[in-house]
C-alpha cells in the first residue's frame, strides 16, 4: 500500500532511467535542420505559455484549475512532428502542450483560459476543456482516461471510411488504471484500428507514484496482453518520441493496427498551478531536472552546429513575445454575454426548433 517515496528510492529510479531509458538526442534520418529547430521553437513556446499561465492564475486572470505541460514538452512536440495536419489527437487534463504542438493558436488558447469569447470554446471550456478541433485536436478532458475511447472512435471512422488519418491518444500513467483505458486498447487492437496510445508516464498521478499504482510499473509491458506492439522511450527526448510515433503511424496507416508507446519521464514540477507537493520530497525533483528537454535540445542544437546561442536566445525571445501577444489578445477579447449561455448546447437547428435561449 502507499508509502512516502524515500530519497534513496528516488535515486534508484533516476539511475534506472539513465540505464534503461535515457537516449542521447539524435535526429531521425532525413529530418531537416529547420524541422529540428522547429521542435525547439515549439517546445519553448509551450514552456513560455505554461509559465505565463501559472503567473496569470496566481493573479486571478485565469479561473478554475490549470495543469502545466512543463517537463513534458518533448512528448507532444515529438509526437505531433511525426503527424500530418489531418491526423487527430486526443488529450488529457494537461492539454496546453498538446494544443500548441498540434498547431493551435496561442491567442485563442489564452483567450479560452481567460474565459473570453475569442477562446477556442468561447469561454465555456477553460483549461480543462481546451480544444482546437480545426487542427485535429479533439479537446482536453478533466476526467482521467475519459478521452481514450474517443480516440478509438476516430480510428473507427478512419477505418470505416477508408481515410488515411491516424489518431494519437495522449494519456497519463494514472489513466492506465482506468477501466476505459483497457476497453479502448483492447477494442482498437481487435479491430486493428489506426490509433497510437501514447502514455505520458511522468511517474506520478498527483500524489501517487506509478509503482504504487501498478505492480508492474512498465506500461508498455501491457501491450503483449492485447496482442499489439509496445515500446518504452525516453520522454525527455523529442526525437525518441518522434521515431516511435512515426513508426507506429506508418504501421497504423498500412493496416497494422494500434501501438502502445510509453514515453517515460518525470514530473519535476507541481501537479497543477497551486500544488504544494507536500506528498513528496521536492529535493528529488532536482535529480530529474537535469533531463529538462528544452535544455537538452538547446545543447544538442549547439553541439551539432544547428543553432548558435544567438539563435536560441532569439527563439526564446520569440516564444516569449508570442505568449505576451496572446495575453494581450486575450485581455482585449470580450467576456461572453449572458445571451451566449445556451449557445452550443445542441446544434443550432435544434435550438431554433425548440426555442432554447435565456
Amino acid at each position: 500500500m502507499a508509502h512516502r517515496v524515500t530519497l534513496s528510492e528516488s535515486c534508484q529510479a533516476v539511475e534506472a532511467f539513465e540505464r534503461d531509458t535515457l537516449e542521447p538526442l539524435q535526429a531521425p534520418a532525413g529530418m531537416t535542420a529547420e524541422d529540428q529547430r522547429d521542435i525547439y521553437r515549439r517546445m519553448r513556446l509551450i514552456r513560455e505559455f505554461d509559465t505565463a499561465v501559472k503567473g496569470l492564475w496566481k493573479r486571478d486572470f485565469i479561473y478554475g484549475l490549470a495543469h502545466s505541460y512543463v517537463a513534458a514538452e518533448a512528448i507532444a512536440v515529438g509526437a505531433c512532428a511525426a503527424l500530418e495536419r489531418t491526423d487527430y489527437i486526443t488529450s488529457t487534463h494537461r492539454g496546453h502542450g498538446h494544443t500548441i504542438a498540434k498547431g493551435g493558436d496561442p491567442r485563442r488558447m489564452m483567450a479560452e483560459l481567460m474565459g473570453r469569447v475569442d477562446g477556442y470554446c468561447g469561454g465555456k471550456g477553460g483549461s480543462m476543456h481546451i480544444a482546437a478541433v480545426d487542427m485535429g485536436m479533439l479537446g482536453a478532458t478533466g476526467i482521467v482516461g475519459s478521452a481514450m475511447p474517443i480516440a478509438v472512435g476516430a480510428g473507427l471512422t478512419a477505418k470505416t471510411l477508408d481515410r488515411p488519418f491516424v489518431t494519437v491518444c495522449f494519456h497519463g500513467d494514472g489513466a492506465t488504471n482506468q477501466g476505459v483505458w483497457h476497453e479502448s486498447v483492447n477494442l482498437a487492437a481487435v479491430w486493428n484500428l489506426p490509433v497510437i496510445f501514447l502514455c505520458e508516464n511522468n511517474q506520478w498521478a498527483i500524489s501517487l507514484p506509478y509503482d504504487q499504482a501498478a505492480k508492474n510499473p512498465t506500461v508498455s509491458d501491457r501491450a503483449q496482453g492485447y496482442g499489439i506492439p509496445g515500446v518504452t522511450v525516453d520522454g525527455f527526448n523529442p526525437f525518441a518520441v518522434y521515431r516511435a510515433v512515426k513508426e507506429a503511424a506508418e504501421r497504423a496507416r498500412s493496416g497494422g493496427g494500434p501501438t502502445l508507446i510509453e514515453a517515460r519521464f518525470y514530473r519535476y514540477v507541481g501537479h497543477f498551478v497551486a500544488d504544494d507537493e507536500r506528498y513528496r520530497d521536492t529535493d528529488c525533483n532536482i535529480l530529474w531536472e537535469r533531463f529538462d528537454p528544452i535544455g537538452r535540445m538547446a545543447t544538442y542544437l549547439a553541439e551539432s552546429g544547428l543553432a548558435t546561442p544567438e539563435w536560441v536566445a532569439d527563439a526564446d525571445a520569440a516564444a516569449k513575445a508570442a505568449v505576451d501577444d496572446a495575453i494581450e489578445f486575450a485581455k482585449a477579447s470580450p467576456e461572453p454575454s449572458a445571451e451566449t449561455l445556451w449557445d452550443g448546447l445542441f446544434s443550432p437547428e435544434f435550438m431554433r426548433e425548440q426555442g432554447i435561449s435565456l
Binding site: 480544444a131 478541433v133 479537446g139 476516430a154 470505416t160
Partner: protein, 347 residues
C-alpha cells in the same frame, strides 16, 4: 467535421409510394428503419454486443449484418464504456453511429462517457463538434429478469443537459422517431420497451419523420389528462376505453419524447380537463412524474381541480418472483384507481 452523406438523396428502394399503410411490430419497425437509413447513408454504423451475426438477442438487428457487412454492423467485446465512448469519437469525426446497449440498466457502465462526454462535448468545446449519435437500449421490466435487467432511467437522462430522450410506444412512432434520431446532429437516447417489441400497429409508407417534442393525443377526452410514458400508453388506453363506458373520458397523451417534452400539449389538455394523472414504469421517487407534475403545477396551478397523481413503479429493486414483480409494475387497476381518485373530486 461532418461527412456530407453521398447517398443522402437516394430514397430506399423498399419505400412503396402511395401504398396502403402496413401493419408491423415495433421490432420490425426498428429493423426496417435501420435498414432504410443505412441504405441511404453510408456513414451510419451499428455497434454493440451481439448485434451482428446474431442479429441482437431480440432479433432487432436481424439481417443487417448480412446486408451491410461486418464493417458497418459491428459486434463489440463486452465493453459498454468503450461502446459509448468509441461511438462518440466516431460521431465527432464523421460517422453516424447507432450504438446498442442490450439492457438500458447497463448504460451505467458507460455513464461517464455518456454524461460527461457525449452530453457535454459540443457545449464544452464551444459548439465546435457535432455529435450525431444514437444509443438504442431496451428499458422496462416483465418476464422475471429481476433487479439488473428491468430498469427505466429516463428521469436520470432528462436531468442531463445535452441529451435527447425518446420513448416511443407504437410502431408508427418508433419508425418516425428513430429516423429523426438517426438524422439528428445531437445525441439521442432511444429507449425501446422490451415488452413492447411485439406490439403491432399501422405504419405509413414512405420516408416520414416525427419531430421531437411533439406529443400525440392517443385518445381525446374531457375529464382527465393521462400522460403516459412508453408502453404505459397501451395500459392507459385500455383503462380509458373501460372508463368511457362508465362516462369518464380520459385524454391520453403520449409525449413520445421525454426531452424535449411537449408541455404545450399537456397544458392545453389540463386547461380542458383540470385533472392530471401521470403514468410511468420507472420508480416513483425522483421519476419523470415528479418533474411533469411540478411543471404543470407551476404553469397551470389555478386550472387544477384536484391534485395530480403519479402512477409509477414501486421503489424497490425489481424482484424476480412473478407476483412480486407484478406488484411493482403499474397495471391497469392502479391506473384506473388513479383516474377515479382525481375525477372523484368535483369542484
Amino acid at each position: 467535421m461532418r461527412t456530407p452523406s453521398a447517398a443522402a438523396a437516394a430514397p430506399h428502394a423498399d419505400v412503396a409510394e402511395g401504398a396502403a399503410p402496413r401493419v408491423m411490430t415495433v421490432k420490425q419497425a426498428i429493423n426496417e428503419t435501420l435498414r432504410e437509413e443505412m441504405g441511404r447513408d453510408p456513414t451510419i454504423i451499428i455497434l454493440g454486443c451481439d448485434v451482428g451475426i446474431r442479429g441482437n438477442p431480440f432479433g432487432v438487428t436481424k439481417g443487417l449484418y448480412e446486408e451491410f457487412g461486418a464493417g458497418r454492423v459491428l459486434d463489440t467485446p463486452i465493453s459498454e464504456a468503450a461502446i459509448i465512448g468509441t461511438s462518440l469519437g466516431a460521431a465527432a469525426t464523421g460517422l453516424r453511429p447507432i450504438a446498442e446497449i442490450l439492457f438500458s440498466d447497463w448504460i451505467t457502465i458507460g455513464m461517464d462517457q455518456l454524461v460527461n462526454q457525449v452530453a457535454k462535448i459540443r457545449y464544452m468545446f464551444g459548439g465546435a463538434i457535432n455529435v450525431p449519435l444514437v444509443i438504442r437500449a431496451p428499458v422496462g421490466a416483465g418476464g422475471g429478469q429481476a433487479a439488473q435487467h428491468s430498469q427505466s432511467f429516463e428521469s436520470w437522462f432528462s436531468h442531463v443537459p445535452g441529451l435527447q430522450v425518446v420513448m416511443p410506444a407504437t410502431p408508427r412512432d418508433v419508425k418516425g422517431l428513430l429516423r429523426t434520431a438517426i438524422r439528428s446532429d445531437d445525441p439521442v437516447l432511444f429507449f425501446e420497451h422490451k415488452r413492447g417489441y411485439e406490439i403491432k400497429g399501422e405504419v405509413p409508407d414512405g420516408e416520414y419523420t416525427i419531430p421531437f417534442g411533439k406529443a400525440e393525443i392517443a385518445r381525446a377526452g374531457s375529464d382527465v389528462t393521462v400522460v403516459t410514458v412508453s408502453v404505459m400508453r397501451h395500459k392507459a388506453m385500455t383503462v380509458a376505453a373501460e372508463l368511457s363506458a362508465d362516462g369518464i373520458e380520459c385524454e391520453v397523451i403520449d409525449p413520445r419524447t421525454i426531452y424535449p417534452f411537449d408541455y404545450a400539449a399537456v397544458l392545453a389538455s389540463v386547461a380542458k380537463t383540470h385533472r392530471l394523472v401521470v403514468v410511468h414504469e420507472a420508480n416513483r421517487r425522483s421519476g419523470i412524474g415528479g418533474e411533469i407534475v411540478s411543471q404543470v403545477v407551476e404553469r397551470a396551478f389555478d386550472q387544477l381541480a384536484a391534485p395530480p397523481v403519479i402512477v409509477a413503479g414501486l421503489d424497490v429493486p425489481m424482484p424476480y418472483n412473478r407476483s412480486l414483480e407484478a406488484l411493482v409494475i403499474p397495471d391497469e387497476a392502479r391506473i384506473r384507481d388513479a383516474v377515479l381518485a382525481v375525477t372523484a373530486r368535483r369542484t
